[in-house]
Symmetry: D3
Subunit: 293 residues, 6 copies
């Protein structure tokens, strides 16, 4: 588990091929396939500018290269100078990057660049805040598949930038047996046994349990991890004891900033939180033009 | 202005062609281009099920047809029965829709369907909460271009479902002269005059002003709307008086649930709020399997 | 209105992101996904050439950068030297651009490059011819949505290059109430009122009227522009008098080079003409190889 | 050669897979990715209508199924009743098709459907007019690669609907040695010999010649067809005599309605005309709502 | 491990969304974006036919639904009647499916349908032949990432249809430390430790070793599986003994039909073979028209 | 016919636009839209490496630029040094190319690059082996449309790299009347006559015959080529005699390395073999890291 790896130096950048299409699609969406009526009316193609991307609130940064790519899509001649790298914290008022070159493409790409950067930094900031709360415990905060449609690879990256770890990426890269699967299979044991028979040898199996009785049944089967859903802190402690390190333990369900530390104190390995991706408020950013530097 | 139109009956559905590609992309993203390892291991293609999408918290619904489309992408034979239409409010525990048919595609499309529905309903719910606060005033809540990259048409629709109105959709469908444009043009007057000279005859012009002095200058030019940015309630009242109905007035900048009513009371026509799209928490939803109905 | 802006210096270039996909698609279409059988059989990858794009007839140029992009798609090492920029007039025999480098990609991209340039310059040339006819009047020539499927952003740009202005770009960026809408609404007043209630605050409303009676009704409502469809010059004059500058006036319907000046003389603000986009003959161009310069 | 096949009964319909993407792209272009502001404001999703597509001028029809597909993209429940099939002639005022169903998608798809149908019917009409002029001669009118970028398969089909035949579709399906290839190869003979050595066994070779001297040289090589470019009627007659049926003869270059018959009378097999695709005026069409039938 | 699941009844069909795009691309590739010159010239749109897809050689079938989808892309009215389902064996001369309906789309889709079915059945057939050879042993045959670019999800499915199991699908769903990673990390231990620190909790780790010395080092670390590359049968036996069921053992490298049984006899859990995907000969198929049934 | 052109110097490279999309798709497929879990865990973005692509078996190379493009997709700063060009033979152990730069993208692109290069070189190698066997005869080996879906342009190129020639590329660029067409038309003569009436003037017509009787009928019509399907060597000799150079002769059907020379000795012009594309085993390649050079 990547608990020890949530320092900034461990954050591996994404290959641009993983997000280029999303950025081009966003620019096209903002243009309506047409262009920027305001800038084209007011700004000459010859006007030049220097602009700063500034954090208006403190936060953990993620997506700075994605923002840079948005500008370069409109003008490969723009110079994008990164001042705060992904995985680093910015204070309010800090300059995250400086863009120099033709004023027109800077203005036209501004909103797209900021929408990516603000959203991803918002996720990183929320993740970091939970990670900080539980820093004294071995538990690690992990995200879920409750991500924005079309942006999962970026949002999972933002979680890593915030010091969290990733759960599986999608339906294909691990087996997570959830309540509805158990209903269809007719029971916890049967569901696990079917999964074990069919899983590829490189695929881990996790099972969701809601009660200690279900957990007891699950532990009789061969599982890699157990998701302890919507349990009280007391139940979680008991569950960790029952599992006794024979599987990875993951607490899930309604965990908030208020409860995270208590959950971590139960000794669970992972705390998974959907809202760090689906409900993180965007980081407040602005792009300000300047003529001196 | 659409203040009178924020009742549910006025909500016009989106043509599916506007979101089909986004849904297919989201399913493909969740599959990793491969499939659903868990469901394929546990559920037989012959298993059948009835599942309910349930609101775990109260909220305004948006995106129910998008969710339905996600299921139909995997199996056109699934029956999707809508119980709470877009633009209507659901109470906690209410069933929003019922899906019936093969269990396998229901399980495989579940997360994609819920991710769309939860995110859009979250936006509708936040919009509605603001719209309710200012219901006694003529002001209307409007969204911005601070939307999730790739999902703008859906998020703008969710704002309408919440009783809000839409600002321009993108860079192309109206002119909004912002601070950075004014910097490049060298002044408010010059920026407006350039825009007036170049704007198409079907394009409206709005200008952002930060001070009453700027507003005074702007009002000497021919403008359709004025965005009053980051002004106090006192300044807004004075601005509304100065504009004297010669242009649409829009308050913007850091307006919260706490301040919305006071802002509306100044007599502004519009209150634009970025966070109803970029920071609205997702509505809490679940999909529960049942075997009886 | 952009009447004063139809000089060449006002023509703002399109961001390449707005047409790159169309050019790649055209090259792929010409290749059949395979290649250039003739050139591959006859020309060595080592052969080098200098080729001139020449106007065989006089005309207003539009699309020179699009043509250049077509060549660069096949070989980024080709040198494309523009001699007549978009928005400028060329005389018969004039060299518009010179391409230098490997002969093979020049030959393979030739037809795609010329198809774009000839079509767009044809539109610019027709537009300019109308604009010239009405130069003494305040009226401005505007295009419609009768554009080639898939090429609208380029064709609207070509109209600007020809000294015309753009009407709305699509169904989304302005409201134009046409005869069929009026039929469905049950009358001019009802249609306008519905639109007024539902229109966003940044959206202008234009209504099409066929008679002076309809115009009289329309003028009782709040409208931004009125499209006077298929009216005689006499009716147009009367309509302009009735509107009395309270809305923008647009003449439309069967206006030709023969009638344009008389229409302009009625005092209308805009003359919209579908055939400058849907029926403009292509400008006659050739690409000629030379070995000296 | 398909001279005998230019009757309507021979026109084979295109598989929709060949144009579906172009139609979806055109609808998306008209929507700006967003929707139809006018119709959504005025027309209820419950309003129903019957609309007729009417030819306002006489012409040869092409693209009626493409138009029908545009409507079905927005609403698969619309009923599209074709009255004049592709390859048939319509008189002014004739109803080409009737669309029945929800009024909203009919209005939203109208412009896209008509843009395809008007453009393609314009090409068919021009082609037919030339075909009629030369009907007494064996010569057949053929199109070129001077087609609208992205719409070639449709425009080539429209030529067939007009009673013309198709030249090669692209750079890959036949060898046409043009002047610039000859310049690079260093001569007509050398160019043909290289092509002969490299051509696949299923690929025909045509060579463009400008003079009878070039023709004489070309005839010493093994060629399938010869393109007689920009020759006078007198030269063409002599060329036909020289070729003596040993290759297909194609007249090309500046052939107009005025000169077509004289060219055909020289005995050439084919008359290729670029302007039937690149400069054909659109056929004048309208879509009219009615409430009775 | 799925050794027990390689019966036909366990083969779960792919959701069509996983291959529809590949089939449409293949049809478009065969059409060159244009159509079927032969069929359009010879076959009337009214001609109807019944055609059988026949195995000319015995083999295990995979891809029958993919073939059916190819036909339905051109004509949704075609009736596709499957006689041998994926995962079943066909004898030489056996009818795999019968297609009935319009002759034209059957002929035009034939090659695309057969190319998919023949290639995938070839993979299934080779996989089955190896699976049969080792049926007496617990070892299971697995595929690699050496698949045809763009067709991996189908080829992995074909391996399952042949009674094999899947290794990881791509670079993202499991960690496989190969020789080059070890070179960069500076040693087996260091590479495993880095992976362990960084791997998500749902990701398994396998390490490739070439020698028993490397294996000894690897076994001191926490690993889920070990890939024994290019080892002799004697070395493999020793390796299995050393691992002693503490990790999954996988034999790899140059294993052929001649050596597979001996390898399986060593007691390894998995035998991975690249050539069952990258070098499997296509199954010989034909589509034969008939007029009776 | 290109018999004389199968030397390496005649191999014209493909424009990258013809395969770029296929390579990006393959990388995305291997990443699952996410990334490379192993390399990201073990290799630092700062690690640098030199890697050699090595042939582990002798073979004819095709696709080296495609492989190079795969690396450049992930990092445009990688240096790709080609040592054995397409169309040249490599001995076992020979270095085909050297990649230098950041280790991370080299490792992540390795499998995609090798999958293309191995598959295409396998086709080139099989083609060359047949071409060598028949080198003493005028016959040329040609491929069919039995290619991997989505990769035809590359596989047809690989055949040329192996010294073979290409049959038609798709359904659109030539007419090949096959058995099923003859069934529908009701006979060989009728099928040819229909094709002759409808074929464009630049389209060649080939007809498949299974017997000498069919050949006799076919030769009474105007055909360009005849495909002699599944005939014995004795029948082929007789067929060549009957055709007497009035059409191109192509032998087809079950021709193997064992029979190729005897078939060539009959005097046929072409020998078409499906398995050189659909069943060629991949060339065995590896990518080896080194730290010195």
């Amino acid at each position: 588990m990547p608990k020890n790896s949530n320092s900034m130096t461990d954050l591996v950048p994404l290959y641009p091929i993983l997000y280029e299409e999303a950025v081009r699609r966003a620019l096209s969406e903002d243009f309506g396939g047409r262009g920027d009526a305001t800038t084209d009316a007011i700004v000459s193609p010859d006007d030049r500018a220097t602009a700063r991307i500034i954090a208006r609130a403190p936060g953990r940064i993620a997506g700075i290269d994605v923002a840079g790519f948005a500008f370069s899509c409109l003008d490969s001649g723009l110079h994008f100078d990164v001042r705060v790298r992904d995985g680093k914290d910015a204070v309010a008022g800090e300059t995250l990057a400086i863009v120099r070159g033709a004023a027109r493409p800077i203005l036209s790409a501004e909103r797209t660049a900021l929408n990516f950067l603000a959203g991803l930094s918002g996720i990183a900031t929320e993740t970091r805040s939970i990670a900080t709360l539980i820093a004294a415990y071995p538990a690690c905060v992990v995200c879920t598949r409750k991500t924005t449609p079309g942006l999962r690879v970026l949002e999972k990256y933002a979680v890593r930038a915030g010091g969290g770890a990733n759960h599986r990426f999608g339906l294909d890269d691990a087996i997570l047996i959830k309540d509805n699967h158990i209903v269809v299979a007719g029971g916890v044991s049967e569901a696990i046994q079917r999964a074990r028979r069919r899983a590829g040898h490189m695929v881990k199996i996790e099972v969701e349990v809601d009660t200690l009785e279900q957990l007891e049944i699950a532990l009789k089967e061969e599982i890699d991890a157990v998701l302890l859903d919507n349990m009280t802190v007391h139940m979680l402690s008991e569950a960790v004891r029952m599992v006794d390190k024979k599987a990875i333990t993951e607490a899930s369900g309604g965990i908030s900033a208020q409860t995270a530390e208590a959950v971590a104190a139960t000794g669970v390995d992972l705390i998974s939180i959907g809202w760090i991706t689906h409900s993180a408020p965007a980081l407040d950013l602005s792009l300000d033009f300047a003529f001196e530097l």
